[in-house]
Symmetry: C2
DNA sequence: GATTAATTGTTCCAAATGGAACAATTAATC
DNA sequence: GATTAATTGTTCCATTTGGAACAATTAATC
């Protein structure tokens, strides 16, 4: 965000009250609340991942992409994650060294190399996913099952639309 | 934020198709989609703000907070935005120099200083808000007015709950 | 009321970040 | 097919970032 991040993790009453007021008053309520939610969902998990596995966000995103798509180039990952290519390059090297992925030159195009996740990488991913799920549940349990379905439908629609 | 960020801004068909697949396949769908949405809403606007007004995210967040709450300390802003205090400190100094806010020592507590937005700061905020709104509309127009109300209700519930 | 603990804002510094230039390769254009 | 343009992954470098230590001040504890 670096982010449009607003946490209410404050021990001081004043801020909690005032923060709530911001949610009601501000001019771009939906953007603001979605951004806030995203950070509440994701930030603490990334802090865990950093602490326990030594991966930063870019490295985990690389792992995540390769967990779902068998073979990708660095450029693919850059496109998908919106991160600059040099960051991906760094992440790839670190993850190669740690044995979480492999790289082989593309026989069809000498410029690029094909990345794949290793077994160790898959294992790591398997350890990390539950943390996101636990966190998701902590936040989304505020909704009943009907509301969860509503949310699912709305998100599908929003994400599916190809706005600019 | 650095971020759990996945954009579909790719000129290549392959990635767009594969990206869509990730949304369906992955294990933490709601977290993933909310995070994706947040970035789509916010990232391009922050890029504009950076380019046109020279403010980074932290600086704008400071402005945003002071636009809605008359008087805050640096620590207040740190609590509300979840950013480290030294970042806030830097942002405050830059914004002071630019004349977007004022600072006066708190007579009741010698440790802290009270920040307020200036007229110039309010003007700047007034110029920036519409950009968020335009972007919000670009994304949320995928929903009809009923669905918008649903979303509003769900967000209120999610944000209002005080999960850990 | 003296002593210890906690809080605020700042400075220092090592690490992360991302833009720009670059060589290697492939695609496009003439 | 030669020449120009575009693409990929990397290196370089200036800027940003955030943790830790710090002085100044206030609160808590004895």
């Amino acid at each position: 965000m670096p982010e449009h991040r607003l946490t209410s993790v404050s021990t001081r009453n004043r801020n909690e009250r005032e923060l709530a007021a911001i949610f009601e008053r501000n001019e771009v309520r939906d953007t603001f609340r979605i951004s806030y939610l995203a950070n509440r969902l994701v930030v603490p998990v990334y802090e865990d991942i950093k602490r326990e596995f030594g991966l930063n966000r870019g490295e985990y995103l690389l792992l995540f992409c390769l967990s779902h798509i068998e073979e990708l180039t660095s450029q693919d990952v850059a496109d998908m994650t919106g991160r600059p290519r040099n960051s991906i390059s760094r992440a790839v090297h670190r993850m190669l060294e740690d044995g979480y992925l492999t790289r082989s030159p593309d026989p069809a195009d000498g410029r690029q190399a094909l990345l794949r996740i290793t077994y160790e990488g898959q294992e790591l991913h398997r350890q990390i996913v539950p943390r996101f799920l636990v966190r998701e549940e902590q936040i989304l349990c505020a909704l009943d099952s009907d509301e969860r379905r509503q949310l699912d439908r709305l998100l599908a629609k929003l994400v599916g639309s190809n706005a600019p």
